[in-house]
């Protein structure tokens, strides 16, 4: 464990060093973030121009939903996204061979070696915006609500990681599908709708087969106390199960991996 912590610390330092080369993009990232928030908030305005009330959600709560989806996304981007984007190159250029020779878990190294420090600044920006929105609309968050949201947010990130790993395992089999991470990138933003207005079948689909509700919706619903007790049990169970399956699949693929040059 100590060894892994030491390696992780080194990787963070390396991340800071790499990201310092992208200072201009970090500045542009703030502008992009501003545009993203503005478009998302205008979308909610558009929704409320068509409907007086979305059952169970006020306009202000929908603002928070949008921002929390983004926050959860940024956490994932900060910790893992760079690694999954790099996975195709890692597997198909032969660099994975080199990784297998290291005295460390290939899974740990392959999914933690790139830490996007840039995203940390955007996480801070997201949190600040949420606080400003809460202050502006006099929304009051309880301590238990914040704890519940953090708990569901954590499991949401676990689910994102698990699905990304599961899908990236396909790269061992097919060299043409490196763009698979773009699909996940799009899906991660699909949690920003109040799913409770959907009938039963689409709701179940978006919670199990295509679990976009994990990507911010559950965390926000938990923050406002809109979830039943069963969901608090179901979310970690399903996330853990998918994570377990993805790790099993990864191990199987690594076992059968026969080098890019073979």
């Amino acid at each position: 464990m100590k060894k892994y912590l030491r390696v992780y610390k080194k990787l963070v330092e390396l991340g800071v060093s790499i990201e310092s080369q992208y200072r201009k993009d970090t500045a542009l990232g703030f502008i992009a973030q501003g545009i993203q928030f503005a478009t998302a908030l205008l979308f909610i305005e558009a929704v409320y121009s068509q409907i007086n009330l979305i059952p169970g959600w006020t306009k202000e709560e929908l603002f928070v939903l949008t921002l929390l989806v983004d926050l959860q996304n940024k956490v994932f981007v900060f910790l893992f996204q760079g690694n999954f984007n790099y996975m195709e190159q890692l597997i198909h250029s032969g660099k994975f061979d080199f990784l297998l020779t290291k005295p460390i878990s290939p899974l740990f190294y392959a999914t933690n070696r790139v830490i996007r420090i840039r995203a940390a600044t955007l996480i801070f920006l997201s949190l600040t915006t949420i606080m400003l929105i809460a202050y502006h609309f006099s929304l009051q968050f309880t301590f238990s609500g914040i704890f519940r949201a953090a708990y569901m947010g954590f499991w949401g990130v676990v689910m994102m990681y698990a699905i990304s790993l599961l899908v990236n395992c396909l790269l061992f089999r097919n060299s043409q599908i490196g763009n698979v991470n773009n699909i996940l990138g799009e899906l991660r933003y699909q949690g920003r709708y109040p799913f409770n207005i959907f009938p039963h079948i689409p709701y179940i689909v978006f919670t199990t087969i295509l679990p976009v509700t994990f990507f911010g919706y559950f965390a926000t619903a938990a923050l406002f106390g809109k979830l039943d007790v069963l969901t608090y049990l179901f979310v970690p169970l399903l996330s853990s199960f998918v994570c377990f399956c993805s790790i099993l699949l990864w191990r199987k693929q690594v076992k059968h991996y026969s080098s890019a040059s073979s």
């Binding site: 993009d25 970090t26 990232g29 993203q36 205008l42 043409q176 763009n179 899906l187 709708y193 009938p199």
Partner: protein, 263 residues
């Protein structure tokens, strides 16, 4: 001209060779619409709207997906790579224009995905005839096809413009991401433009983004009379020319300041 036609051919062959990759790109564009059409259909079921029925909004989104798959381009990433890794140096000594070369590859790259999308659209229409309306008239259908071509060309030039930023700023995913959000808002991808506040609608009218999704879809749905459609088409062509000129201007400026990474 012959060289560019040959490049279109090469790009078509690439599409046939890398079928899995093409299929994945189609899924990328479809995944952006996983929830939003359902969301609007349920919102309009909860509170019916005179202008937009659930059937109409469903058709609107199917059309947006269709246009998105036709016009989507990954060309920005390629240009950025060429600039940053010195790929353009090799092309600069050849008797071809770099932007035209990329456009030829872009056009060729559309053939295979477009065929798949047309087949999928036909299937969807057969399976859900209530939720996928036919064009208001044959003329509107023909104009829809023309507007899809306009949307594709505008998308191409917007991507080129953003990727040319690599001459000065290096790799800039943030710029590309901003373009995605602006396209979504002002193009009518997130919601039909008429749903937005008046100020946004006015602003959208002076930007090129509405040609990407909202106008083609509204032409198909018969929201405009034929005279307006003509005017809009002229507007679209003017935007293409303006963006092409801007791209040429920025390209020339960038090339003057360019230092190949190998130098």
């Amino acid at each position: 001209m012959k060289a560019y036609i040959r490049m279109v051919g090469i790009s078509v062959k690439q599409g046939l060779e890398f079928r899995a990759r093409i299929f994945m790109w189609l899924l990328v564009h479809l995944s952006a619409f996983t929830v939003v059409p359902f969301f609007w259909v349920y919102v309009l079921f909860l509170q019916p709207n005179v202008e937009y029925t659930p059937e109409k909004i469903a058709t609107y989104y199917v059309l947006i997906v269709l246009v998105s798959c036709f016009s989507a381009s990954n060309i920005g990433n390629r240009i950025e790579e060429d600039i940053l890794e010195g790929g353009i140096v090799g092309l600069m000594v050849k008797p071809v224009s770099y932007v035209k070369y990329r456009f030829a590859l872009f056009l060729g790259g559309k053939v295979v995905p477009s065929t798949i999308v047309i087949v999928l659209f036909g299937l969807a229409r057969l399976l859900f005839p209530t939720y996928i309306l036919l064009p208001t008239s044959f003329v509107h259908g023909v104009f829809f096809v023309l507007f899809v071509c306009v949307a594709s060309t505008i998308t191409f030039f917007l991507d080129v413009l953003v990727s040319l930023g690599a001459f000065w700023w290096g790799r800039t995913p943030a710029l590309g991401q901003s373009l995605v959000w602006l396209r979504g808002l002002f193009g009518g991808q997130f919601a039909p433009l008429v749903f937005y506040p008046a100020a946004i609608v006015s602003l959208a009218k002076v930007l090129p983004f509405q040609f990407l999704y909202a106008i083609p879809a509204n032409v198909y749905l018969g929201e405009y009379d034929i005279t307006t459609v003509y005017h809009l088409l002229v507007g679209g062509v003017i935007w293409i020319m303006a963006l092409a000129l801007m791209a040429t201007f920025i390209w020339k400026k960038g090339i003057r300041t360019y230092d190949s990474p190998s130098q």
